[in-house]
């Protein structure tokens, strides 16, 4: 059995700590921060990790200060937050649908956000801020539609996934139509946005993202235990005193919001929401949604993927979504094979 330690304070509070999970979270956090420092240091004006840290601490030259503070730091911080938000959203969805494939990218949210953003770009010629708003609205509307359509005396695993696939197919039609309506410049912008890109992000994207994450990620952490019981099935959860539909509604709401706000900032970056929770589960070897481990793993994944996308193809800087997209498809197929061997699908 697992060694789970309970820490009790004199005041009667008790916190259960799984040492392996805690260690995994700490190591992943260190990895994410290290990758972030490397990413800040890479680009046309390369800097050694030591220089980056020194600059962050206030000991850099004026040029280094400018590059780090104004150009690269916001990009990397947004990447960390987007990765964390997507991964937590994915972890919640996968737990609620009790299905490793029940992630926002499969359920059609990415397509919903894309339709929202494309409508703004193509039909109204809106700027980045309006595009983000369109993406939020599209993602939220899709989330509500999928949930309501999958509802039939409660929402159950595979119906949610299949309804999501149906909605996604419809929205894909709308996306393709909007791309044909655009002129080539807007079409390029639209396709870049749909692929998911961190280019051109600055502090104005960072603060709203931070605000949403600062509220919703702790909320999701707090609901970790009821959610783990929900994973055992509705009946078992009722028996254990969980308010099933309320827990599910609150967590669906935060998952949809986290996904939408991350998508609004950087476009629909696939694969992170799908894979981070599964990888986190394998690293911590603990059941349940593993919200904390998923968050740091998602942040690390996105930063590493961005580093690969911007530096691995010579002078072609690809959007990060190309890297995560190709990895995601391969991962999905692998998941399907292993799930089939395990007899779960």
């Amino acid at each position: 059995m697992k060694a789970v330690k309970a820490i009790r304070t004199p005041g009667g509070l008790s916190v259960r700590v799984d040492p392996r999970a805690a260690l995994a979270v700490l190591l992943l956090l260190a990895a994410a921060l290290a990758a972030a420092v490397v990413l800040v240091g890479s680009g046309d004006f390369p800097m050694a990790p030591g220089e980056v840290v020194a600059t962050l601490l206030g000991d850099g030259t004026a040029a280094q200060e400018f590059i780090v503070r104004d150009v690269r730091l916001p990009r990397v911080l947004v990447a960390l937050l987007v990765g964390a938000a997507l991964a937590v959203g994915g972890a919640l969805f996968q737990s609620i649908s009790r299905n490793p494939l029940g992630s926002p990218d499969v359920l059609g949210f990415a397509q919903g956000s894309s339709v929202g953003a494309l409508t703004v770009i193509v039909l109204f010629g809106g700027d980045a801020f309006a595009t983000a708003g369109g993406a939020m609205a599209g993602g939220l509307a899709t989330g509500a539609a999928v949930y309501l359509l999958a509802w039939k005396r409660g929402v159950h695993g595979y119906r949610l996934v299949l309804v999501g696939i149906g909605i996604a197919a419809m929205l894909t039609g709308a996306i393709h139509y909007l791309v044909t309506k655009a002129d080539l410049v807007d079409a390029t912008r639209a396709v870049t946005w749909m692929t998911g890109s961190l280019d051109g992000l600055d502090w104005s994207q960072f603060w709203p993202l931070l605000a949403v994450c600062a509220v919703l990620i702790p909320l999701s952490l707090a609901y970790g235990r009821p959610l783990r019981m929900l994973e055992m099935g509705d009946d078992a959860a009722y028996a254990l005193g969980i308010r099933v539909e309320r827990t599910r509604a609150v967590l669906m709401g935060s998952a949809v919001l986290l996904t939408a706000v991350a998508t609004a900032a950087a476009g629909p970056i696939v694969f992170v929401a799908l894979s981070a929770p599964q990888l986190a589960r394998r690293l911590t070897r603990s059941p349940g949604p593993n919200v904390a481990a998923s968050a740091v793993l998602g942040a690390a994944l996105l930063v590493v993927a961005d580093w690969v996308a911007t530096s691995a193809f010579g002078d072609r800087r690809l959007p990060v979504g190309v890297v995560t997209g190709v990895l995601g498809g391969v991962y999905l197929l692998w998941l399907l094979v292993t799930e089939r061997k395990a007899g779960r699908i």
Partner: protein, 353 residues
């Protein structure tokens, strides 16, 4: 057998397959098929007459049979007729491939668009256009066939062969589609000339129809149609399950290979001609099955007649709602088909998956 059909129907079906049926039902089905053909002819006339420039039916007649080169004659001969013929061909191809796939995988959600076969063809065509400098359909139809073939086999093996559930098949298709369209996006971003050409093709449209395209895809679709009709009887046996099919003397492996070849020919050629179009192959066989019952020897001809009705009808609607421009047929079918798919998913039996 469909996953959602009640068990007593399969016994009924065994009886239907072996015992001669009362002549009355045959006559009724044949009459229904004739009626469907009549509807198809009406839709074809509508497809020729309705568009950015409305043409009176009398002029349609004139353009078709007494061509004297008037403005309407030119529109009809050079634009509307090729478009209608291509819609007919592609409709037949998509409907038959959907019916064959649903029978082969015994899965009500099977459909080439949802299972990633179209995406496979699209990825191959994108590769051909962007990396190999291929520009004409006569060359890239081969790539589309290759892509469709590879992906249909891969998805079938991954999600479809023995013990398939509708969910696994749909997920295997979604996974393949996600990976392949990720690749398509990446190529388009690196090559904006390819983006400009491909964004019209990937939406699924009949607008670019011309006689050369039709000439190129017709042989593939014709071969696929013949093959699909030839395996109707073994497919009937396959729907009862592989063991039963073997016991009934069907060649299970041969049927499976022939069915995959038929699906590849039909989907590859249709996708090469007008881009990926989803849901036609899902909706029509379901509709048809409600009318004809489970016998593939009736389902296939009905699907072949009614699928172009749906496709051409969607195309006409797309031309009417967005005048003076048009809504591509792939968009219209996605918006008609999505709700049908969700309805199927919500049905009682599917909910227990």
């Amino acid at each position: 057998m469909l996953v959602d059909s009640p068990p007593e129907q399969s016994a009924d079906r065994t009886a239907a397959a072996s015992a001669p049926e009362p002549g009355g039902r045959h006559a009724l089905r044949a009459a229904g098929l004739l009626l469907a053909v009549a509807v198809l002819i009406l839709v074809c006339v509508a497809s020729i007459a309705i568009g950015a420039k409305p043409v009176p039916v009398a002029d349609v007649w004139h353009g078709l049979f007494q061509n004297t080169g008037t403005g309407n004659d030119v529109v009809i001969r050079d634009v509307r007729v090729p478009r209608t013929v291509l819609g007919l061909l592609v409709g037949v191809a998509l409907g038959l491939s959907g019916a064959v796939m649903q029978a082969l995988t015994r899965n009500p959600l099977a459909e080439p668009g949802l299972l990633g076969v179209n995406a496979g063809a699209a990825a191959a065509v994108v590769t051909a256009i962007s990396f190999l400098g291929v520009t004409s359909i006569s060359e890239y139809v081969w790539f589309a066939l290759l892509g469709a073939g590879v992906v249909s086999v891969a998805v079938y093996v991954l999600g479809g062969s023995r013990g398939a559930t509708p969910v696994r098949l749909a997920l295997a298709g979604t996974a393949a589609t996600a990976a392949l369209f990720g690749y398509v996006n990446a190529v388009q971003l690196l090559d904006s000339a390819a983006l400009d050409r491909l964004r019209f093709w990937t939406v699924g449209s009949l607008a670019s129809a011309d006689p050369a395209t039709i000439g190129k895809v017709t042989p593939f679709i014709a071969a696929g149609v013949v093959l699909a009709l030839l395996i109707a009887r073994p497919l009937n046996a396959m729907e009862m399950g592989e063991d039963t099919a073997r016991a009934l003397g069907a060649h299970v492996n041969r049927t499976r290979v022939l069915a995959m070849v038929a699906v590849t020919l039909l989907c590859g050629a249709a996708t090469a001609a007008c881009g990926p179009i989803v849901f036609i192959g899902l909706m029509v066989p379901h509709l048809v099955r409600a009318v004809t019952g489970p016998d593939m020897r009736w389902i296939l001809p009905y699907a072949a007649v009614l699928s172009p009705v749906l496709l051409l009808g969607s195309d006409v609607v797309g031309r009417m709602v967005a005048r003076p421009s048009e809504l591509q047929v792939g968009v219209v079918t996605a918006f008609i088909g999505g709700p049908v798919f969700i309805h199927l998913v919500r049905r009682k039996r599917m909910a227990q998956l």
